[in-house]
């Protein structure tokens, strides 16, 4: 299959371990953030989102942390599984836009069995 990204930063973790993927966003005025997962040959798939009035949001096996002071976003995946292997993108949306997402450059997660 085609590769989403050949030269992306790569995080390699052992199956069952926790994963932390980091993202620095660019616009201090952004008020909404989303993490997407993209498998090879597929479009980005929504994982979890967070608004700027929150510091933390939890989903099933995933947690997003937002640090507005340093414009940093992280995605934590608990008990990483082989099916979690993919490229992960953070995306931000500006306060003045209700629709336009600006994506980061992505991180490839490899899960070792």
């Amino acid at each position: 299959g085609e590769s989403v990204g050949l030269h992306l930063p790569t995080l390699s973790v052992q199956e069952g371990d926790n994963s932390i993927i980091n993202c620095a966003y660019s616009n201090s005025a952004s008020d909404y953030f989303i993490w997407y997962k993209q498998e090879s040959g597929k479009g980005p798939q929504f994982i979890i989102d967070i608004r700027s009035n929150m510091d933390k949001r939890q989903g099933q096996r995933v947690t997003v942390l937002l640090n507005k002071t340093v414009k940093h976003l992280s995605l934590q995946i608990a008990a990483t599984q082989p099916g979690d292997s993919a490229v992960y993108f953070c995306a931000e949306r500006g306060r003045n836009s209700s629709y336009k997402l600006i994506f980061g450059s992505g991180t490839r997660l490899l899960v070792r069995p």
């Binding site: 990204g5 929504f46 989102d49 993108f89 629709y99 336009k100 997402l101 600006i102 994506f103 992505g106």
Partner: protein
């Protein structure tokens, strides 16, 4: 359908050829977006429709790029006189009006200009 459908899945075009990429959004989704994703990069915004109205086309890289959604459902992205730098995956996404969960993306069309 259950998801956003894009066709063709792959397109190889000779430099200078015109291409048309199709997007079938999720039924009832008012908003439709086109993004361009170069290899190894995150998607970049091209254009936005609300129903049939193209409200933002600020991301279209040149006047060779044209998008339409004449009946507020299916959309077509057309690229005229393709050039090698147009090679990328073209992603379509849709959402309900004011949807919180961002967009639902299709699998994209991979365009290769040779």
């Amino acid at each position: 359908g259950a998801g956003v459908s894009q066709s063709p899945r792959y397109k190889v075009a000779k430099r200078g050829q015109d291409v048309a990429l199709r997007c079938d959004p999720i039924s009832g989704h008012v908003s439709l977006f086109w993004y361009q994703q170069a290899l190894g990069q995150g998607p970049e915004f091209l254009t936005y429709f609300q129903n049939e109205a193209q409200l933002d086309k600020s991301g279209l890289p040149s006047d060779r790029f044209f998008a339409e959604r004449p009946e507020g459902s299916v959309s077509t992205l057309k690229i005229q006189r393709t050039q090698q730098e147009d090679s990328a995956v073209y992603l379509c996404a849709s959402r309900v009006a004011g949807g919180r969960e961002g967009y639902t993306f299709g699998s994209g069309t991979r365009l290769t200009v040779v």
